[in-house]
Symmetry: C2
Amino acid sequence: MGLPVRKSKLAPPPACPLTESLALLRGAWAPNVIWYLSGEPRRFGELRRDIPRISARVLSARLRELESRGLVSRHPLDTSPPSAEYALTELGRELLPAINALARVGQKLIAEWDSRASVGKMARVVG
Amino acid sequence: MGLPVRKSKLAPPPACPLTESLALLRGAWAPNVIWYLSGEPRRFGELRRDIPRISARVLSARLRELESRGLVSRHPLDTSPPSAEYALTELGRELLPAINALARVGQKLIAEWDSRASVGKMARVVG
DNA sequence: GCACCATGGTATCCAATGGTAACCATGGGC
DNA sequence: GCCCATGGTTACCATTGGATACCATGGTGC
């Protein structure tokens, strides 16, 4: 048997700006993590509670990926059960306008659903 | 044998605006598809060429998902090899500001890399 | 000293997603 | 009759993500 064929996995010059910024956000929950870090720095357990459906495994992986991409910085704290704080870097903050734009669309969608639901149910909720 | 245990897969009210808009964009290449549809309607083969690294399988799946989410509309054409055109719906257009914000970040990143590369290479590119 | 707790993870296992490549259906050109 | 282009679909496999259990550290109650 010869050598196994190496599938090149080449990533030829994309240079598509959308592809570049999406590469920063790749991975499950990445935008949510950035969203919840956009205020103050937060700790691992806080982020777990912020994003209830994330698993510790994925949160851990995502934080290390975001750190390696330069979007997030990690600061271990010398507390009794050793803990750590995560914060957005300046590069991470550059993504906030885009994430805010996404959130605005989401708010609009939620508002539309709510108004239609209240119409459909004859305004069970006061409004 | 009894019924297979149904893992509830519950999606309890997230109501996080970011989660809502990301649900619209879920799936590989979804933002790119919207990006390339943001001008004129485009055909399947055109999108394949626009996004060279997408596979036909995923493009097909993504278009049908985006259609079912109401972001994209499909218009079959009565041509000799039957073809189809895809266009953004109004809901799809509401995502364009967010996608443009992402693209702006990507452009900035590319510009920074370029300028650093040209400095590192002693400005091979005139600038 | 020792059990027990909280924090911040890892290890293991399985399901869903995406990629590759091959194939199919239609109708026109040669 | 055969091949081609378009617009997909199918089969198969690698990677990613999720659920859950577990581990390491050090503090606290006793």
